[in-house]
């Protein structure tokens, strides 16, 4: 029989005992729904974790330093590397080369220095670092008071909450550290800070308070820069940097234009060959945490030292693989139950339609035709069940997500998407449900096909 005829016949047969068949189809739907719900929860959590990790900047960042930098000395992977003195200079050309690598999103110089900031004429010493515009999406700035830099070279500054507290002289007492960020931000936003810093001059000193460094080709000039406080961040965007973490942040371009003397400059004993800037280290952001290793290897080949936190993501992926597997197994249980439902429904249908099968055989239906009709019925229930199941699973996910977000909002936490139903999951679920129905329909269909027509016709 032709496929359209078969489908038509199957659908009309399903309509004949609509209650039983719809109950079976609902059974399949529930099975598919549980599978879809479980898997989309797993996928959703995985995506959430990846999103969080990507935002944190921990796992998609490679820190690049020159081998001339003494910080790279003594590390295992550097033992066989070229002599620090012969390795390449981490200059603008190298930065641009790294930035144009395939999987690299951006590469920006890591500018950080300890300097003095004056607020209301009181000096405060702290670590200052530069932030690229892309850091705006970093989740460390979630819950920040004020706003991000208006432009990449604005004379603006963002403070970390702890430093803001220090400026206000409100060091929290031990055991009582829940000063709200809004509280410290209020008096500071829009105010001015004066940063005093040492500028690295291009040429020999020309008077003033400039000081020449013996044996080098540059001078150091003391400068001041006025900065407007635009934001106070609650979290610490640089918590991963440990002791070198900064508490004051400047826009990257502004920081570059200041030519601040950096600690590593003192170690740079060989003068730069060109007038291009030379960086002590670069932060390289990779498009996807999975590509960190490839990018690291490529940068190492260029002759630089790299550093990244990678193993954590790998463990995480392993964890999610196991989690997805468990969710899949539990989701499949419901589907297994519903496939027994299909077998039951079809076996009942054979009993009921015995005579009809006899008639069809008497007027010329082959075993294959009869088998195909029952297969088609099973398949149709599978596809319908699959479609409803995906919709149901999606709806369950939405409802749970909605509920969880209400809970999160009550806990004054940011809302999230825990659920992900990608298109491939939709198709896989429907195709899987169809195939499972065919497998379930195999025994009944075969039984129907082997029915003896003489006996079947005698059946009333």
């Amino acid at each position: 029989m032709k496929l359209p005829d078969l489908t038509e016949l199957a659908l009309r047969n399903l309509r004949e005992s609509v209650l039983r068949n719809s109950l079976t189809t609902v059974g399949i739907s529930v099975g598919v729904a549980s599978l879809v719900a479980m898997l989309s929860l797993g996928l959703g959590l995985q995506q959430l974790a990846n999103r969080r990790l990507a935002k944190s900047g921990l796992f998609d960042t490679v820190v690049v330093t020159s081998r001339r930098d003494l910080r790279g000395m003594g590390r295992d992977d550097d033992r066989n590397a070229p002599n620090p003195g012969e390795s390449r200079v981490l200059d603008e050309a190298a930065r641009s080369e790294i930035e144009h690598m395939h999987d690299v999103q951006e590469a920006y110089p890591d500018i950080r220095f300890i300097t003095e900031l004056r607020y209301e004429d009181k000096p405060h010493l702290t670590m200052v670092s530069a932030m690229p515009p892309s850091a705006k999406s970093n989740d460390s700035f979630e819950g920040m008071q004020g706003s991000f830099f208006t432009s990449d070279d604005a004379a603006e500054v963002i403070l970390q909450k702890a430093f803001a507290e220090e400026l206000l002289g409100r060091t929290p007492k031990r055991g009582d550290d829940d000063i709200k960020v809004a509280e410290v931000a209020q008096p500071l936003l829009g105010k001015e800070l004066v940063m005093r810093y040492a500028q690295r001059g291009e040429s020999a000193p020309s008077g003033g308070d400039a000081t020449a460094i013996p044996g080098t080709s540059y001078s150091v000039v003391s400068r001041e820069q006025k900065l407007k406080i635009v934001g106070v961040s609650d979290l610490d965007p640089e918590s991963m940097r440990g002791p070198t973490h900064a508490r004051v942040f400047l826009p990257l371009k502004l920081a570059q234009s200041l030519h601040v003397m950096q600690p590593t400059d003192l170690r740079e004993l060989t003068p730069a060959t060109s007038n291009q800037p030379v960086y002590s280290s670069l932060s390289v952001r990779v498009k996807n945490p999975t590509q960190v290793r490839t990018v690291e290897d490529a940068i190492k080949k260029m002759g630089f030292t790299t550093f990244s936190i990678l193993d954590a993501t790998r463990n995480l992926q392993q964890f999610f693989a196991v989690l997805d597997m468990f969710l899949l197994i539990f989701g499949s249980l419901a589907l297994a139950v519903s496939s027994i439902g299909i077998v039951n429904t079809l076996v009942m249908a054979i009993l009921e339609r015995r005579r009809e099968i006899g008639i069809m055989k008497a007027i010329g239906a082959s075993d294959g035709d009869v088998q195909a009709i029952f297969f088609a019925e099973a398949g149709a229930m599978g596809v319908l069940g699959g479609i409803f199941g995906v919709v149901l699973g999606w709806a369950i996910g939405q409802i749970i997500n909605f509920g969880l977000n209400i809970y999160l909002r009550r806990q004054s936490l940011p809302t999230e998407h825990f659920w992900a139903v990608p298109l491939w999951l939709v198709w896989t679920a429907i195709v899987f449900s169809f195939l499972l129905s065919l497998v379930s329909g195999f025994y009944p269909a075969r039984r129907a096909a082997r029915l003896d027509p003489v006996q079947a016709l005698r059946y009333e």
Binding site: M1, K2, P4, D5, L9, R12, N13, E16, R355, E356, G358, I359, M360, K361, A362, I363, G364, A365, S366, D367, G368, D369, D452, P453, V454, L457
Partner: protein, 243 residues
């Protein structure tokens, strides 16, 4: 009919020493016990006997619905016992048309769907199928009932629809199992007249199972009597219409 010139091609059905045994629990039932007979092409034959005589078993063998325990049934040169299940289904589809006492229409389908069902198995195109089914129903006078379900029709109408279905694939052999058994005498006559027309005008071979001798005498050219699975009498008859 030329009964004197019996050539091999003119034989429609030949059975040689056919037996059909069933097992019913401990006992063995000999439904057919060594039946040999021949039916010529274009003949109208009645198989007569009381219930349990084996006449329906014989018809089922000729219809290809069942296989003999031993012996052979040869229809138009095909030994049915040697056909595979698949070939037997094709044989039923293309060579044989059947009508039953209880009509055997599928209750969930309309008349036209019932009539075109064999065409679906024969994989005839949908458009062609529709017009063929309509035509066949028109020929048996059911033009107005095309979209009705069997349950909405009288017995006579149902049997006419069943006849339309049996003829849709233009079979060479029409097998009727007590075709008037569930009909009143008036509608029974109507159906029998149709069978007679098919036999006389289209030259179709008709084998009819009945237990009504009067019916056989009225329409059949030959009457074959079965009792206890054995052929007991085989005689020519001059049909004289419904007695």
């Amino acid at each position: 009919m030329a009964t004197t010139e019996v050539t091999a091609t003119a034989v429609a059905i030949r059975s040689d020493n056919v037996t059909r045994h069933y097992r019913m629990g401990e006992t063995q039932v000999r439904a057919l016990d060594g039946v040999s007979l021949q039916v010529q092409t274009g003949e109208f034959v009645a198989l007569l006997g009381s219930s349990g005589s084996g006449k329906s078993s014989m018809l089922n063998l000729v219809a290809g619905l069942d296989r003999p325990t031993s012996g052979s049934v040869i229809v138009r040169g095909r030994d049915l016992a040697k056909l595979s299940r698949e070939q037997l289904a094709k044989y039923r589809l293309q060579v044989v048309g059947m009508v039953f006492q209880s009509f055997n229409l599928i209750p969930s389908m309309t008349l036209s769907e019932n009539v075109e069902l064999p065409l679906r198995f024969a994989e005839v195109d949908r458009g062609k199928r529709d017009s063929m089914a309509r035509e066949a129903l028109e020929r048996v006078g059911l033009k107005a009932r095309v979209h009705h379900r069997p349950g909405e029709l009288s017995g006579g109408e149902q049997q006419r629809a069943a006849l339309a279905r049996a003829l849709i694939n233009r079979p060479q052999l029409l097998l009727a199992d007590e075709p008037t058994g569930n009909l009143d005498s008036h509608t029974g006559t109507e159906i029998m007249d149709m069978l007679k027309d098919l036999n006389e005008q289209m030259g179709m071979t008709v084998v009819m199972v009945t237990h009504e001798r009067a019916l056989a005498e009225g329409y059949a050219q030959r009457m074959i009597f079965l009792a206890d699975g054995k052929l007991v009498d085989d005689r020519a008859n001059t049909p004289g219409g419904r007695a």
